[in-house]
């Protein structure tokens, strides 16, 4: 496959970036998108051009690091995959592919395609945990009976890898799908109910302070989420938030 890539290049967080065009020849359709980026970087280095900086780690759809906005969609045109799971067979010979960083005020660009997603960490730190005494007397989690449906829903919410595709995709750069997955994960389990009120209030407060936009229920986040996190979680967080607000 011969491809034309239009890639966002930005020297650092302060620099003004722009799209650069690169030609690639003989790209294998069996390559993953990140492997194609590796080949591009080797090509650039032989030409004396600085390679494109992009985030990646596990390359098997678990870590959530790869964060490219490909041809107008977070993680590209495929569904339920991260960029590392996207393969070049999804494109055609002669295609022009635009590659941009995830864009949001809360996700500032560090360099090229890498963005700072530590806003998610701060939201998580605001309440995305269960306070457990680990002195040795901790109750075995399996000793608490949990309804199978609740356990399944909590597990589904917990599969969120915090990649930020929801924010990148949402026309408002809203983080509601991510935050609601974290809130739901605990709200559905008895271990999480103790701190439920404080958790949802603190996490939403932090989310708002980070500068994410408001959710307008377009549903784009659910479609683009590589883990298929459901909008049901957002409704649950709305309920949790309203209930917590009334409790004060």
């Amino acid at each position: 496959m011969n491809l034309t890539l239009k890639v966002w290049r930005q020297a650092n967080s302060q620099a003004k970036g722009k799209m650069e065009t690169y030609k690639m020849e003989e790209v294998s359709p069996d390559m993953s998108f990140l492997e194609m980026m590796d080949v591009l970087n080797e090509q650039l280095m032989t030409q004396g051009i600085e390679p494109v900086a992009f985030d990646h780690d596990c390359r098997e759809g678990i870590c959530g690091m790869c964060s490219m906005f490909i041809n107008g969609e977070a993680h590209g045109p495929d569904r339920l995959v991260t960029t590392c799971q996207l393969h070049m067979r999804k494109f055609k010979d002669g295609d022009t592919i635009t590659i941009e960083p995830f864009r949001a005020e809360a996700f500032p660009v560090i360099k090229d395609l890498t963005v700072d997603r530590s806003a998610f960490d701060r939201v998580q730190q605001a309440g995305g945990f269960v306070s457990v005494n680990t002195s040795g007397n901790t109750q075995d989690a399996n000793a608490i009976p949990i309804d199978k449906h609740d356990a399944d829903k909590a597990f589904d919410a917990a599969t969120c890898i915090g990649c930020g595709a929801c924010v990148a995709t949402c026309k408002n750069a809203s983080a509601m799908l991510f935050v609601s997955a974290k809130v739901s994960q605990y709200a559905l389990l008895p271990q999480g109910k103790v701190e439920a009120t404080d958790r949802v209030l603190s996490m939403v407060k932090q989310m708002d302070e980070e500068g994410f936009g408001n959710c307008t229920n377009t549903g784009a986040c659910e479609v683009e989420c590589p883990k298929g996190i459901s909008l049901e979680n957002i409704a649950r967080m709305n309920r949790e938030y309203l209930s917590a607000s009334l409790k004060g």
């Binding site: 408002n172 750069a173 407060k205 959710c215 549903g219």
Partner: protein, 219 residues
């Protein structure tokens, strides 16, 4: 923290004011529909609505507040949302994962707001003038004639029809979305979505039908 200070709180108030406006729209449609079937019944109900003190001095101010709140909050949210992504994408395919209606609520809302300006100028201002400025004598038989008179102009009927198409588009996303905003997403949501879709098509197009009916039967 007040409810309107947080992003979720704002969405909830937006949803509740939207549901309130949908209820008003249902009532307005029901009364307008009477004009197709019975002139006297339409006059009777309109006279009651126009002169009942509870409707006039309690419900009407609440309605005006609801309308203003929904629009002001809509613009506040839009402003915040547009600031949340300073640098826009060079290539953004919004249509691949979300409906046109859901992505353009502000534009359909602006069309509806413009229409409301015309609607107030056409009906509400003359009504207020009749009752409270000129203080003309009560005439329980004037409403039907006034309604039909407004629909004589094809231009006005055209603007009216176009505005209701945008109202339909606005409701197709907004009505169902308001339930999600207040936390309702369960096994009944599919049925609720079907109901809100039917409502969003039938009621606005029903208003257009009423306008066309009077336009075509006026001559």
């Amino acid at each position: 923290m007040t409810l309107t200070a947080s992003s979720i709180g704002r969405k909830v108030t937006m949803a509740l004011s939207g549901i309130f406006l949908v209820l008003f729209l249902t009532q307005h449609f029901s009364i307008n529909l009477l004009s197709v079937f019975s002139e006297s019944l339409f006059n009777q109900v309109s006279h009651f609505m126009g002169n009942n003190p509870i409707v006039q001095f309690i419900l009407q101010p609440i309605l005006i507040f609801g309308v203003l709140f929904h629009f002001v909050m809509g613009f506040v949210l839009e402003l915040k949302n547009s600031k949340s992504r300073g640098v826009k994408y060079a290539n953004y395919k919004g249509g691949t994962n979300a409906s046109w209606m859901s992505r353009n609520m502000i534009y359909s809302g602006i069309v509806i707001l413009s229409f409301l300006g015309l609607h107030f100028y056409d009906f509400w201002v003359p009504e207020m003038n009749y009752k409270y400025v000129e203080v003309l004598p009560l005439n329980p038989d004037r409403y039907f004639e006034e309604l039909v008179h407004k629909f004589e102009s094809p231009v006005r009927v055209g603007i009216y029809a176009l505005s209701f198409v945008f109202l339909s588009l606005h409701l197709l996303h907004g009505f169902a979305s308001s339930f999600q905003s207040v936390g309702i997403n369960n096994k009944y949501s599919k049925a609720l979505k079907s109901f809100t879709t039917a409502f969003s098509l039938v009621v606005p197009l029903g208003f257009v039908f009423i306008a066309l009916f009077h336009h075509l039967t006026a001559f």
